[in-house]
């Protein structure tokens, strides 16, 4: 299933990456080459095989539901491009 330019634009939008028209052409070619190569996975019989999402067979550990860290507002915002009064600042979202 080859990706056309519209599909590339849609993926770029989902990925929140701005692309120019020239880049769309380029990405379509590159992504199709990579996806074409990935296509060989369809040869593998995987009926009744459970998908593997972790390599170490263990139960995720539980911890007590208590506050273990915090009080670090200054640390958290120190690297932000724009802050005000201890908050992150973003362009206006609500008119």
């Amino acid at each position: 299933m080859a990706l056309d330019n519209a599909a590339v634009r849609k993926i770029a939008r989902l990925a929140r990456i701005e692309v120019t028209e020239a880049e769309v052409e380029h990405y379509a070619k590159e992504l199709n080459a990579i996806l074409g190569w990935i296509e060989q996975l369809s040869e593998v019989k995987t009926d009744n095989i459970a998908p593997m999402s972790r390599v170490v067979d263990m139960k995720l550990p539980m911890r007590k539901d208590i506050v273990s860290d915090g009080g670090k507002q200054a640390d958290i915002i120190v690297n932000a491009p724009e802050t005000a009064a201890g908050y992150f600042v973003v362009p206006k979202v609500v008119e």
Binding site: L35, Q40, T46, S53, V55, P61
Partner: protein
């Protein structure tokens, strides 16, 4: 006496213990080596003041009889993927420009706790996505190695290219790396070093800038197996802050290095004999088999039938996880922001400007394979094939104790030589990726030179959490191969 700069980590440790020299002298020597090697672009942030202060503290501890052990006073370099408190950490991406963490990654905290001395941060492929260090936003790294009679710069491999180039150039006695699909083993092979990726879960991922969370694992580079083993022990350990780190004791890996491999069953997987592999690699592999036979090991032919599907599986799973992990770079909380007409425009412009070409390509692939309508065909399918690849190894390790393969299908290549073709670049990791998908430990041992005079490595893979057995086999292989070549120091001018 040998010059201090020529000592490996194990010998430097012994010299410090005998008070043959001080940690400060050792640190000064390595700071000088770091300055002399600037043309390699291996170290992107130098922390010489920190190094000297760390070394003085190590000397003071030793004077009081309170040495912290093998790593105390040992100068090392840290891959830029590890967050280091107060030292800019950006995984060599423009999108993390200026990011100065207010916390320390667990792996580096463990190293400082053990007394290690920090020289600086090493160059890497952007977000660890690459096999040549050419995707770094801070420019490529020149390998200390060059082809015989040819001055063209070669790649050190990637993604931990700066760490490998630094140690190969004698800058630092060890360096940290991270391996998602070969990013320690392949550069170690290209630079003539030992590079070990432990079992997934052995080292904490906390504070390590994420690429693909089900695959990312920290590991070490050293000039020798002993060096890599000493350093890995200091890095490893359970960490409640990483829910995938495993709570089991970390053995003394160095103590396991007996070199006795009598009766060890060494598996040779027939599927790793790929078409177009240079004769030098095939010959080296045969020599490796011969060495193990001579040492009394048993060679067992094995089959890992799904090997050929490992790379395409990896290039679904890793980009999928990356597209999710890299969602956090939105111009709001840290790093670069490029302003836009509205918040969406700001996100898109920030990410278009901040990410490099390879990272964007992988985010786009990842976004696609996770998107509605394609998830089952690509992502779920890849996860199932991953299960089959892991099953192949489980079956093989019922018959053998370690697996021996070449580490890479070729020696190092020149800058730009294969940069234009993503899939050709991906093929560099054809022998490294299967074990990553299965979470197994692996190590590169430098074992010979190519006809052009470049290092070639053999890879050993071990059972889950059997780093001790794996490193002992590597130690035996290292002794048999007796690889003593070093890059001629052309960069010191």
């Amino acid at each position: 006496m040998t010059d201090i700069i020529d000592l490996d980590l194990g010998s430097a440790r012994d010299g410090l213990a005998k008070k043959a020299f001080s940690a400060l002298e050792l640190a000064r020597t390595h700071v000088q080596a770091m300055e002399d090697a600037r043309s390699l672009n291996a170290i992107i942030i130098e922390t010489p003041d920190r190094a000297l202060a760390d070394a003085k503290a190590a000397d003071q501890r030793r004077a009081k009889g309170e040495s912290l052990g093998a790593m105390d006073g040992i100068p090392i370099a840290i891959k830029d993927v590890f967050c280091t408190k107060g030292v800019v950490s950006r995984a060599c991406s423009k999108i993390l420009d200026g990011f100065s963490p207010t916390y320390e990654s667990t792996v580096t905290a463990n190293l400082w706790q053990a007394g290690a001395v920090m020289l600086g941060k090493t160059n890497m492929d952007e977000f660890a996505m690459g096999s040549s260090n050419e995707t770094s936003a801070l420019g490529p790294v020149a390998s200390p190695w060059r082809r015989r009679g040819d001055n063209r710069p070669l790649v050190p491999g990637g993604s931990s290219g700066g760490s490998a180039a630094a140690v190969a150039a004698g800058v630092g006695l060890g360096a940290t790396g991270s391996d998602t699909g070969g990013s320690i083993r392949q550069p170690a092979a290209f630079c003539g070093l030992v590079g070990v990726k432990p079992t997934y879960g052995r080292c904490s991922r906390w504070g390590m800038i994420a690429f693909a969370s089900s695959l990312d694992q920290a590991g070490s580079f050293g000039r020798t197996v002993r060096d890599a083993a000493i350093m890995l022990r200091a890095m490893a350990g359970y960490d409640p802050k990483d829910s995938t780190s495993v709570d089991r004791p970390v053995p003394d890996y160095e103590a396991a290095l007996t070199g006795n491999v009598k009766g060890l069953r060494v598996g040779i997987p027939k599927e790793y004999r790929v078409g177009g592999m240079p004769a030098a690699i095939e010959d080296l592999w045969q020599r490796g088999i011969g060495w193990f036979k001579d040492m009394g090991a048993t060679i067992v032919d094995i089959s890992l039938p799904h090997t050929k599907y490992a790379l395409p599986t990896y290039y679904v799973i890793a980009p999928a996880e990356a597209s999710s992990n890299l969602g956090r770079y939105d111009g709001v909380r840290f790093g670069l922001r490029v302003s836009g007409d509205n918040v969406l425009d700001m996100y898109e412009k920030t990410r278009a400007t901040g990410f490099g070409a390879e990272v964007k390509r992988r985010i786009m692939i990842g976004t696609y394979v996770l998107s509605a309508g394609y998830y089952d065909a690509y992502y779920l399918k890849a996860q199932k094939v991953r299960a089959l690849i892991a099953r192949d190894f489980t079956a093989a390790f019922e018959q053998v104790d370690v697996v021996l393969t070449p580490t890479t299908p070729s020696a190092a290549f020149a800058h730009g030589e294969i940069a234009g073709d993503p899939v050709a670049m991906y093929l560099n990791d054809v022998f490294a990726v299967p074990a990553s998908l299965a979470g197994l430990p692996g190590v590169n041992v430098p074992a010979g030179l190519s006809p052009e005079g470049l290092p070639l490595g053999l890879q050993l893979l071990g059972r889950t959490f059997d780093e001790s057995g794996l490193l002992n086999a590597a130690f035996a292989l290292e002794r048999a191969a007796n690889f003593t070549a070093r890059a001629a120091p052309w960069w010191r001018q």
